[in-house]
């Protein structure tokens, strides 16, 4: 109980004094996560829509694989990305290991299947509704996908938010590929893990509260921007 109260106090102190280190790692957290989610959406949303619209031989297999990849253990992703980027790995020459870029790469791998799968589910329902109309109007494949993406944008926002939620709270992968280096690759979650390990529960909890507030702010802001629940039934 004392730890909890101390944690709240620590969080309050960190925020009120605008602790420069806190601000730095918060910004880095957001940078890494938002970049990863943006790339994940760029890949995952069209992929989900495409899977809803196209019929091809391995479609069921691809969808099943995608759904299975949602459960991909982040630590394993981190390990594989580590091996790829390490000096002796195939992409070692790029020198990306222990940089924010490496963390973004790992998070893109973790986030994309989730975003694509949720997008696919939403797009499939919308496609069932629009199918006859779009075929009748002779829409090209690209036009069909664009129409689904535009008209299903609220469901896609949900997909993006789910991706954000998974990425912002993720430790395993970014700890391995980022290395939790102070001033370079330390983010909120890795800092929490470190402070907990050190026994500084108050600081860890303080950082945790900051993390929760950040993610609430982001999801609130995006809902507000898309005006969910305000216009009619969608």
């Amino acid at each position: 109980m004392d730890d909890l109260i101390a944690g709240l106090a620590a969080a309050f102190r960190l925020i009120v004094t605008a602790d420069p280190e806190l601000i730095e790692i918060s910004i880095r957290s957001l940078q890494v996560t938002l970049t990863a989610v943006a790339i994940g959406c760029l890949l995952g949303l069209p992929l989900g829509a495409w899977l809803a619209v196209r019929r091809f031989r391995w479609r069921r297999g691809v969808i099943a694989t995608l759904n299975a990849l949602i459960g991909l253990p982040p630590v394993v992703v981190g390990l594989v990305v580590y091996l790829m980027l390490s000096r002796s790995g195939p992409f070692g020459v790029l020198g990306l290991l222990f940089t924010p870029t490496a963390m973004i790469i790992a998070q893109v791998i973790i986030v994309t299947p989730l975003v694509a799968s949720i997008a696919h589910q939403a797009m499939r329902e919308l496609w069932a509704e629009y199918h006859d109309l779009l075929i009748s109007m002779n829409a090209t494949k690209t036009q069909r996908i664009l129409t689904l993406l535009i008209d299903g944008r609220r469901a896609l926002l949900l997909a993006a938010l789910a991706g954000f939620g998974r990425a912002i709270g993720e430790v395993g992968a970014i700890m391995i590929v980022g290395g939790n280096i102070d001033g370079a690759t330390r983010v909120l979650t890795t800092a929490i893990a470190l402070e907990t390990g050190r026994g500084d529960f108050a600081l860890a909890l303080g950082l945790g509260i900051v993390l929760i507030v950040l993610s609430l702010l982001i999801s609130g802001a995006s809902h507000w921007a898309m005006r969910t629940e305000r216009q009619g039934r969608w």
Binding site: E129, Y130, D132, L133, S136, M137, N138, D151, G232
Partner: protein
């Protein structure tokens, strides 16, 4: 302008999971302007399937041959569904949609959409979300949207089936008006409506064309016993 008509169906058949929905059908649709071909028949006789097959919504066996290549022919057609499908957008965006698909720039498409809305009494609803319209308004929007590309041929699948009396009268009037310049192919189970607007009749039974002919002659004296029984209001099996 080269016409997409005549349309020829030769042994055209539509199947789903091995079951024949309609066909084999041999039928020709000529290029005459302003004709109204009404497809009638008991429930389950394949009216919807015939229209969908002609329009190419489902791949058919046999031949469905337009006078133009399939893709160009499709551009000259429009279809109004029994349950109107509207996009989750404003009425204005719905009306402009077919034009936008054809690459008409946004301002021009919206200007045309506004004109079309005025013609169909939708001006007051332009900014409203299309899924929030009433049944009659939705079907009016669907018809206005189908006609905005000035199609050569319009398929209408029981467009008044889900509507009340006044909405039915309104849609029917619009269809008759559209038929001045567009070849209309309409499925209906409403015999009164068929008598009012048909110039040609296709009578379907068990997925096959049982009888065709000019409307006047068909309604005055059908050639087949089944058609006569159907017109009398008997249950046809």
């Amino acid at each position: 302008m080269v016409s997409a008509l005549p349309l020829h169906l030769e042994a055209a058949t539509l199947r789903r999971r091995g079951r024949v929905l309609v066909g084999p059908v041999d039928l020709s649709l000529d290029a005459r302007d302003g004709g109204v071909t009404v497809v009638i028949g008991p429930n389950g006789s394949g009216k919807t399937s015939l229209l969908r097959m002609m329009h190419g919504l489902q791949r058919a066996e046999g031949q469905v041959r337009w006078a133009l290549p399939a893709d160009e022919a499709r551009q000259r057609q429009a279809y109004v569904f029994q349950q109107p499908i509207v996009l989750r957008r404003s009425v204005l965006a719905n009306l402009a949609f077919p034009l936008r698909l054809r690459g008409v720039p946004r301002p021009a498409a919206f200007a045309q959409a506004e004109e079309q809305a005025a013609r169909f009494g939708l001006t007051g609803l332009l900014r409203q979300a299309a899924p929030s319209l009433s049944g009659g308004e939705t079907q009016r929007l669907a018809l206005a949207r189908a006609l905005i590309t000035q199609p050569e041929i319009l398929f209408a699948d029981e467009p008044c089936a889900a509507l009340d009396g006044s909405a039915t009268r309104e849609i029917e009037a619009r269809l008759v008006e559209a038929a001045q310049s567009t070849r209309l192919v309409m499925a209906t189970h409403d015999m009164g409506q068929a008598r009012r607007i048909a110039s040609e009749v296709v009578f379907l039974l068990h997925g096959k064309v049982h009888e065709t002919g000019p409307a006047g002659a068909f309604f005055a004296g059908p050639k087949t016993e089944a058609a006569a029984a159907f017109l009398r209001g008997d249950i046809v099996e």
